[in-house]
Symmetry: C2
Subunit: 332 residues, 2 copies
């Protein structure tokens, strides 16, 4: 099985690429070739084929077509803030080049084989802000960023390609993922990752939301596992007989206070002293009032959250070789 990961140089893509190398297979099928595509790629084992360049570049598209993936994890995208600052770039990458990729994957199908599987990294930004309460599989989408609008358009068109039988698409709506590297990412939501890093290191942190602010949490490792699972899971018919092709990932919904308590117990620090709250209403409105998510259908398909707050924190920090002082402490 030939497997392609676009956006493989990114935070989540790199985690997924590593997971694929570790497990060596997708469901029962062995990975015979593995390709990583991104604008820039880090050093990679020789066994991973490198496709370096812009997704919208004709030469890159030609190399992607030549690779002829049986399974593509499509993560490459212009992120929300950059997309909003340059709508034309967002259209080129997040819409046009993404649809080009879908086309070339469909056209690259080997005669007689199944339609190529596309696992598409969509986003909870399709719902808009503030998030509707609750979020269910029937919640209308109202993207409030061009990033979310283009992602939603691609979800629809991937579902259509699936209906037409030329691709086998599975769109996962990803929440914010922790823990990003500490270097300033420019993302407003970076405070979620910073909270984990700071308290684990016994450092203070100031949060732009209050202690009761709720957010949806998932580690990069669990996210990668879900992307991999999505490649082989069997989408069910819903109660109306529709084959659903888009799911919000199950999440842990935790308050800042719960995460602080968990970090305090795991790392033996005084989180109440280290974590300071300077709530800013605009940040609270977008990142501090995550509602209940009805993710029962996604769970039934085998998609998973991190289990507990303690597992979330440990899984999120493991890539940084940060280990809890009291890994078995009971917490939230």
């Amino acid at each position: 099985m030939r497997v392609l990961v676009t956006g493989a140089g990114g935070f989540i893509g790199a985690t997924l690429l590593q997971l694929l190398q570790q497990v060596g297979q997708v469901g029962p099928q062995r990975i015979t070739r593995l390709a990583a595509m991104d604008r820039t790629l880090p050093a990679l084992p020789d066994s991973v084929e490198r496709i370096e360049g812009e997704l919208q570049d004709a030469q890159v598209q030609s190399r992607l077509a030549q690779f002829g993936a049986d399974l593509c994890f499509h993560l490459a995208a212009v992120p929300g803030g950059a997309a909003e600052a340059d709508p034309a770039l967002s259209r080129r990458v997040n819409l046009d080049a993404t649809l080009d990729l879908f086309n070339l994957l469909a056209e690259g199908r080997t005669r007689g084989s199944a339609a190529p599987v596309v696992v598409y990294a969509s986003t909870i930004a399709v719902y808009g802000t503030p998030l509707p309460d609750p979020v269910t599989p029937g919640t209308p989408t109202r993207p409030a960023l061009i990033y979310g609008a283009h992602k939603r358009a691609c979800e629809i068109l991937l579902a259509d390609a699936t209906r037409r039988g030329v691709l086998d698409g599975r769109s996962l709506r990803l929440p914010g993922i922790v823990a990003r590297p500490r270097a300033a990412s420019g993302l407003v939501s970076a405070f979620m990752s910073e909270l984990l890093h700071a308290l684990a290191a016994g450092e203070s942190v100031t949060l732009p939301v209050g202690p009761q602010a709720t957010a949806w949490w998932m580690s990069a490792q669990r996210c990668a596992e879900n992307l991999l699972h999505a490649a082989t899971m069997d989408p069910m018919l819903d109660t109306q007989g529709h084959m659903e092709r888009t799911w919000a990932l199950p999440v842990l919904r935790l308050s800042m206070q719960e995460v602080v308590d968990t970090l305090s117990a795991l790392f033996g620090v005084d989180g109440h002293a280290l974590a300071r709250y300077a709530p800013q209403e605009p940040v609270e409105a977008v990142f501090g009032r995550y509602p209940v998510l009805d993710d029962r259908i996604a769970r039934r398909l085998g998609l998973r959250d991190d289990g507990t707050a303690a597992e979330l924190v440990q899984r999120a920090l493991a890539p940084y070789a940060i280990q809890a002082a009291n890994p078995n402490s009971s917490s939230v």
Copy 2:
């Protein structure tokens, strides 16, 4: 005010173009220039500027940009069946060229003036088949044709351009419109128009659905009036504070039997003898079980159905100079 109509050679576009010439203004604003764009255009008065060619053609796009519309009615599209037969063509016209048009309208904005208004002819095909029951403003879209998928994507991206303040978009989801010319259109839904033509002429007709089959009905004239109204109506905030930009048009939901009765009374014919029913299950499923439409919000904005079945029939047949024998007969 410079007004552009794309798809002006089509059934609905031509009706709209005629209405614009008749009224000469949009709300309080006088139409100073009027342009008609389509692949092919009929003879038109000298006062109407002609832009003939494919929407995706660079020269056509350049002429559309030069025109610099303050208001664009965008009706040009590859219709459902043709789009399904050629997905790449649908992408070029119904998605790419439509987004190009949105861009060039936004870029053509005169400094200091309001964002150009775009009235976009979307479709009830965004809901998928069978239609969910009932259809409400919150009904999730599940297009079952690439035509509907591309229309839905453009609704989303027009709403996003509106959010960004570069356009003032209003998407109307059009139902099937009557009465198309009798010449074979290739549309399965043509039987709805044929029923009107045949009974008005005292001819027999065989319908592929049963007498109790319900459909959504609207005349081309009323549809054009709604498109015009949409250009100046004031979109309201919904109960969640969202500015809605997409509406299904209000419709008359009538059974075949009701339409036959209406035609019988208006034209003094024996509709029960002339209309024969040979229901085909696949046609019934798609065109014979239109559910209740919750169109209260659209009505509050001033969008309208045809009033009564008798008004619908007379308005639909008026362009063919077909007049009822008993215009004031009471009917449904």
